[in-house]
Subunit: 400 residues, 2 copies
Amino acid sequence: MTNQAASTSKAAFLKLLCLTSDNDKMEVLRPFNPTAYGLNATFRLTRFSDAKGTVCKVSQGVLAKLLSPLRAAGPTANLKTKYADQRRFGIGTDCSVTPLRYGVSLVETTDLCYPIIDDPYMMGKIACANVLSDLYAMGVIECDNMLMLLTVSTKMTEKERDIVMPMIMRGFKDTASEAGTKIGGGQTIVNPFCTIGGVASAVCYPDEYIKPDNIMVGDVIVLTKPLGTLVAMIAHQWLDQPENWGRIRKVVSQEDVRRAYHQALNSMARLSRTAARLMHKYNAHGATDITGFGILGHAQALAAIQMQEVSLIIHNLPVIAKMADVAKACGDLFKLQEGHSPEVSGGLLICFSRDDAIEYCKEILDLEGAQAWIVGVVDKGNKTAQIIDNPNIFESLSKY
Amino acid sequence: MTNQAASTSKAAFLKLLCLTSDNDKMEVLRPFNPTAYGLNATFRLTRFSDAKGTVCKVSQGVLAKLLSPLRAAGPTANLKTKYADQRRFGIGTDCSVTPLRYGVSLVETTDLCYPIIDDPYMMGKIACANVLSDLYAMGVIECDNMLMLLTVSTKMTEKERDIVMPMIMRGFKDTASEAGTKIGGGQTIVNPFCTIGGVASAVCYPDEYIKPDNIMVGDVIVLTKPLGTLVAMIAHQWLDQPENWGRIRKVVSQEDVRRAYHQALNSMARLSRTAARLMHKYNAHGATDITGFGILGHAQALAAIQMQEVSLIIHNLPVIAKMADVAKACGDLFKLQEGHSPEVSGGLLICFSRDDAIEYCKEILDLEGAQAWIVGVVDKGNKTAQIIDNPNIFESLSKY
């Protein structure tokens, strides 16, 4: 009996969720140590993903093709609807926005990622923050419901599955709770590579979300988290891979890498909810979040959907401490300086008037103890984005 | 550069969606013939899934464990909220229902399946109908937004991917359009097995959805599509597998199997939207849709969340013509008579008063030319469901 409906796996999902609920008070031992849970010391969550790196190659190759039709299409991301005062947003924006009756809109997003760290609980937290990040990029502060989407790896033993998946779900759930929302359901399917993600939905009045397409000439560009999360994750994996460690050991110490790893972890798990709330206070003109395309890819996608003829120019690249050196030592591998290094649950990239931007950065530092930076300016242009030659790359030393 | 964020595949998704939009007027040749698209004659979409049948085994084994905590938990599927007159539904129901401000609720569901047929366009249509089916089971007629979730197989060549995935998306999109809704976004990830699914969301006033937990003693149970879809799909795959064909050739002709296959295809692709609309007219007390757990599994899940002490007793099993014979010839393989044969995009199982049920079946036949059947009764009981010994198995000969 082959090729069965994967929907039968609803059963497995529910089972896991029951485990999670039963274990609501289970102690989550920090940091994660596989043997503390009876797993083999060599257990690595990151191995249950596409180890051949094909995902990245395909996507990077597709990027150029992808963005040209979007750019050409321009305002097609921004469609007229039967509700005269509201517009539907879809492909090309972080969320879909569907105008409904009585002036409300349904704002929704979905995102998934492979495990990028070996700690299941933290991976769950990061995956949840990563899903919510798209809502926050639209200035939505209250998420009404989340669905969890999991792919259990066929390569996991039953024991690994029953220990690790509930920990992932627990982390996801805890971060959802931190964000003031709940997980109303979900679905789990089975496949060789593990994936973790979900759906976030909010029903909003027009003043409860920020349309991303009002960026103006003279605006400046703010970034709310440092770049280099993926570089830090990979460098950390290389700590126990001597041949790879050899590529970077001249520019970085093991201690540096561990510190960068923890900074990246905190940064990825940190919700952009305060960042979103302050977007309203300081009258943001449009924003996106930095994930798989890197800062430049997302800046380009944001530029492409603008109503005004603008161009985003990035001068500054704040990077997790030492990770710019690591990226440089690896030649073409990361494309960090080019703005193409993928981030997971990266910061918001937001355009404000200059005065508002300065106040925004001050207040977010005040409230969260986390730095935000002015990284560029908005010029007149043809709805594109670029990083200047020799951008100013500087180190972020904060906890996040 | 390994273990990249799968979110980079947003690029691939968008690219495919662009292809689909560009090809909106592309001719979809029916029935699907791989060579007509320049693919190898041996191309089979169903091969890009879990060929080991493990999904099914895990899920069947987990079913008993799954349902006992749900049953014990009873009304936990039905939680109090800060909105006094509304309840939150979550795990254990077909959709999550989240009460919001001003008396509306967000009703959401997600579902995914492996390819169960080799025709990409029809597979897209079926997957979309399968996602929407959960909304229809809650009596929701207007879906406000859909997200598409695709997993592209790493085993596909680039050519196969670029031909087949847009056809799947086209089918999905066409059925969404038939349902009066739109696809606002989505996500694609890469994994060895292909999966096709999505999210469906609706914002509803209380009279726009039907709570599933009001089933009463004396009700009868209606089923709106015949069983045996999976049996028909498998039997059809066996047409060119001589060793498997040998198991059933004494009870069925090739012509019978082809007819059953087309009946199943039509049935799976058919939306349950009219079925949902008439649930309101005839005052349905609760419903679910039949998918991966089979009729009995879903009847049990529906029974478990009831407010009244009821028990669902199923006497009749309408089955796609000849497929009961096929299932019988295969011994324990399908568990059709036991009610555990998974269905994809199966019918709604609805409880009404007897008089309403009779009128409901009449009207749906009138409007859709498709039969619905009274398959059982509701007795006093402990929130379980069962099929009687020697149920009446009869053949459905209609087009759907």
